[in-house]
């Protein structure tokens, strides 16, 4: 046991559930969340009455003019806890940097501190009717007055700028990124609940798509969906009495606030500096090194994030992720490669934020991945969002 105070290896995931991922669920997101949470609790061998903690990050990440309504376009922890019954005594929402790692930390800390014994952590994502990000604003005040009158708005241009910096700096090309997206879609096509189930994408299809904000095309972006995932956390000690093999949280690190910039201005150097600092803390905190990781799950809500995460985690040298990918370095079917998108990621599942990464770590490490089960999966890293504005969690099959 480490001398470091904290929860390292003391808390485990003991069950999960995942809804189908669809463009529009045809029923309220809240109802989907209640069903999914109930299924996760049952999967963990528990009853709703035993669950006493609820955490989430409820963020509805649209740049558009959509209303944010609890139970409809987002599902808060309180909303869910009110509807599941039982006797909740710890209910919290995460509002900082790195949505999924942040809410995992809430769950871990609740268990480690004794605030709750069994914690449901959920994430509910909604695709509103109409354009996800369109915003008919006529005037721009506050921070947006510095960018919106210039036409700089929304996440496509946000990611296009650092992506282009990367391509220019390292002589990379969209042909390589096609391989990233094809890998994500290949793996997503194998996942029954994925929006892209049975629908892989070829590099030719990728390269034929029109550009939206150079060098970004539609396939570089995860597709907005309705979907819910829920996980149950408890102590390593209680986990022993539950039906599934526990998957332990070995460590967690979140991004520090990046340098103050214009809204949505994410220069490549900021991303890499923030991510490098995050990775250093992640390895120190978890006692794991990059060489120990057999299941890295990099975040890919926009395809260039795959390069950035591979590099900041030290899984390949800085500036070489594009070559690493092209050489089959993340091909989940190639022996010896790093299966960095084996869970399909966001590109291969839909806009479920960091859930596909977390779920793949859980399923593989718990030995519950079915036909997709990998022979060797002992240490996973689930990344979320941008390396400088997100976080990562290390999972392990053994309490470390």
């Amino acid at each position: 046991m480490s001398a470091r105070p904290g929860s390292k290896g003391q808390v485990a995931i003991v069950g999960y559930a995942h809804s189908d991922v669809t463009r529009h669920a045809g029923r309220p997101l809240g109802a989907l969340a209640v069903d999914t949470a109930r299924a996760a609790i049952a999967d963990a061998g528990l009853t709703a009455g035993q669950v006493d903690g609820f955490v989430t990050s409820a963020l509805f990440p649209t740049a558009g003019a959509h209303a944010a309504e609890d139970g409809v376009s987002l599902v808060s922890a309180d909303w869910l806890a009110q509807r599941l019954g039982g006797s909740p005594r710890y209910v919290a929402g995460f509002q900082g940097i790195g949505q999924i790692p942040g809410s995992v930390a809430l769950a871990v800390n609740a268990v480690a501190s004794g605030a709750a014994d069994y914690v449901v952590m959920h994430r509910a994502l909604h695709n509103p009717k109409g354009s996800y990000h369109a915003n008919p604003m006529r005037t721009a005040g506050g921070a947006q007055q510095w960018t919106v009158p210039q036409g700089f708005f929304g996440p496509l241009s946000m990611i296009a700028l650092p992506y282009n910096e990367y391509l220019q700096r390292y002589g990379a090309s969209r042909e390589t990124t096609a391989a990233v997206v094809a890998e994500a879609r290949k793996n997503g096509a194998r996942i029954p609940w994925s929006y892209w189930h049975d629908r892989p994408l070829t590099t030719e299809e990728y390269l034929a798509a029109p550009l939206l904000s150079d060098p970004i095309c539609r396939y570089d972006c995860d597709i907005p969906v309705d979907g819910v995932a829920a996980f149950v956390f408890t102590s390593a000690e209680r986990a022993r009495d539950l039906p599934h093999r526990p998957v332990y949280v070995a460590g967690q690190a979140s991004s520090a606030p990046p340098r103050r910039r214009l809204p949505l201005h994410w220069p490549l150097d900021d991303i890499m500096a923030g991510g490098t600092a995050l990775a250093k803390r992640l390895w120190e905190q978890s006692g794991v090194s990059p060489a120990d990781v057999d299941l890295p799950q990099v975040y890919d809500g926009f395809s260039p994030f795959v390069y950035f995460w591979l590099e900041v985690l030290g899984l390949c040298p800085v500036g070489e992720a594009h070559r690493f990918v092209l050489d089959g370095g993340i091909d989940s079917d190639r022996p010896g490669a790093l299966p960095a998108l084996s869970g399909g990621g966001a590109l291969g599942n839909g806009r479920m934020h960091g859930i596909p990464q977390m779920l793949e770590c859980y399923l593989q490490l718990a030995g519950r991945a079915g036909e997709r089960q990998r022979e060797r999966a002992t240490v996973g890293v689930a990344c979320a969002s941008s390396p400088h504005f997100g976080g990562a969690v290390v999972y392990s099959t053994a309490p470390r």
């Binding site: 740049a63 558009g64 354009s131 990000h133 369109a134 915003n135 008919p136 604003m137 006529r138 005037t139 721009a140 005040g141 506050g142 921070a143 007055q145 510095w146 960018t147 919106v148 009158p149 210039q150 036409g151 700089f152 708005f153 929304g154 496509l156 241009s157 296009a160 700028l161 650092p162 282009n164 910096e165 220019q168 700096r169 029109p210 550009l211 939206l212 904000s213 150079d214 060098p215 970004i216 340098r259 103050r260 910039r261 214009l262 201005h265 220069p267 490549l268």
Partner: protein
Amino acid sequence: MTAGPAAASGSSGPAAAPEPTRPVPAPDERSAPYWAAAARHVLTVARCARCSTYVVPPDHTCPHCGSTDPGFAFEPVSGRGTVRSWTVVRQSFLPGFRGEVPFLLVDVELAEQPELRVIGRLLDGPDTTLRIGAPVAVAFEDVADGVSVPAFALAEPSATGPGEVRS
């Protein structure tokens, strides 16, 4: 290359719904001097009265010295800078820009201070060939009566590049 919405609306056909106009800035107490200077086609940047650091965007505290009373004043700058990155916007989430696509956005490091970066349109046209480090100079788009938005245009390399200028 660019026409403001005032010009564009003059050419719209009959019976067509009016094209949404480009969003215009809503100046506040702090930013009013910036937009007033822009209307005169002068680019300014907020500068901390305590430590003289240029700050984009200005906030309630200075990111350099930490002052909670930074007394930011918008001071004219050279308008020169270099391109750090760019993108061609072909689909805008802002309806008021749909008539403007495709257009180029450049991420510009201003000459006055390392990493002093702003984003604006490049008015040379969407097919302009660019490279990292290309020199640019400020230009202005007159988008409505009394409202001008800073943008950029390609410039000749200056004798003192941004690498040499340190404030």
